[in-house]
Amino acid sequence: MRLDLGDLGFDEGAHLLVKRASRQLSLGEEMHVTGNAPELFTHLRVWCRSEGSAFRLESGRGGDASAAIIRSAAESDRWAGAESCGGARGSEPAAVVEQPPRTWGLAARGATVEVGAPEYGFTLVDKTEVWSAQAPRFYAQGAAAQWDPQTAIPWDAPCDVPDDVEDAIVQIMTYLIENETAALMVPSRFIAQLHPHFREVMQVLALQAADEARHIEIFTRRALLKRDKLGLSTSGGQASLKTLIEEPDYAVASFLLSVLGEGTFLNLLRFIEMHASDPITAAVARFAAQDEARHVAFGLAHIGEHLERNPAARSRLAAGVRRRSDALRHTAGLNAEVFDALIILAAGSWEHAAIRRGFQRVMQLTRDMDEGRQKRLARLGFDQREAMELSGLHTRNFM
């Protein structure tokens, strides 16, 4: 084989042409390289040495120099035993393997991985536990539904709210920020433990974290619209959230956060939207609920598939709820200030009749939350008795 490099030098990328041509050589076959770039043969000799290829300078016909090089086995040796790590398209049935080796590491799913790569410490490596066939769809939906906090919320809309109601809104926002922080941290923790082979799950979790980041922003901004200080944070509320972010089991954490916690939050956010007396509060609740609905749907899909593949996991999920309830037995759960703030929001004034109405609405909210949790538990195959029990044990802090 002959290769003429013309005036292309090794300081201009000539090695690419030599590499490409030498791949077509059989082992031991010679290739004759010509060219007239300055110092071409000095560079070629060094390049061959570093590649393990033999090099011999020869004087060509007509006085032009050329070099004979013989391809070494080094490149094929490097890729001997390399394996394909699944398929790139998550929608294809065989694309995602049951237990991807940790040595596949960060390689893109579908890439060819050199043998000998370091072993990563991912702990979530079992498809049964983490995968959802619907993850690609949820990721696409989530990516398309990202909104800009600056433009989505009508920050300049009229916001003529009585002082007491404004205080209540600030307290509710303070509580929401705290809870959304937990909802940001839970998926973030698991992203770092998840084998990137489960790419679409990783992407869905990343979007969830991004969603929560926006929620934290808009709740903070609403709280500070007319006030310089935020409200109260109780130790009971924090104790509840701590049990959530410290839950080590991914499926249990996903169940507690997305199915039960964010599911309950859907009712709460719709309640706030419905009873808000200003359009800004209504909008922040509406936009957050829109994202939370997707998180709940993904949680249901993931846990549903998990239980389908591993029905025995149902008792583990239930145990997770009971364990959390036990841990919180001696705490107050939802802080009284938030509870009262919700009544004031729903009442809109201090009229007795209004307060009574607000109180009834909050009672109805807790019943709606319970009903919603039971429905979701039933969808996951829990029987009515267990669904009632588990819903009843869910934290009084809602999330």
Partner: protein, 287 residues
Amino acid sequence: MRERGAFVLGAVAYDPKVVAIWDGFQSYFERNGLAFDYVLFTNYERQVEAHFAGQIDIAWNSPLAWLQAERIAAALGRRVEAVCMRDTDRDLTSAILVRSDGELQKVADLKGKRVAVGAHDSPQATLIPLDFIADGGLIPGRDFEVRYFDLLVGKHGDHIGGEREAARALLRGDVDAACMIDSNVLLFAQEATLPSGSTRVLAHTPAYDHCNFTVLDGAPAGSVQRFRELLLAMSYSDPDVRPLLDMEGLKRWMPGRTAGYGALSAALDRFGTVDEFVLFASARTCA
């Protein structure tokens, strides 16, 4: 505590990666039944003396250290052997570079000029090229000025810094020519230390060889043999050893050969570079 009977290698710590390299080799040798340990030195002279003092069994020697050991051994009536070397240690050349737009066309044109070289003890960037120029009739220091770029003397030019500084001096016009190993001609071109077309090769030295694993007579023959076998058995297709080969810059180990040290030996004879060291090290070894 390590096994007392371990086969001990000496190596010079010219770069922090040296620790990772020899830790890796230690693990490879021990996996294959050769009790192995290593000692790092800050310079080759100390390593050569430690070798003759019996503190190490085998030395990963620069070509200059090999010749130092060979000459001390000759003075003491002992023998040295080159056990193995890298495929990339064979048939190297050095180049004398000049600026493309300059008028220098042949080695004789260096008369009265300023020539940049590497460290005083660099075989590839100083000793071999200066001897090559001297073969052409120009004596360094008399017929042309030598500008040394002395980074890390004692490491025999293993550190690339001196040659890079020499290349930069050439570009700046501080010198008229610069000497370096051929692999740096390519490296400096690819990293744009030497922009494309800015320099050209005035001359190449004849080919020479570089490092080898050196043993003295009296080294434990069984361990030396096992060491050699295990090195030659390392395959680039083995993912466990490939990272070590990549770090050490080779695709396969070759048997040691000593035919490629003639050019450097001639340079040492001409310049007397190691005479004093050989004399005193031999005397200290006897004492």
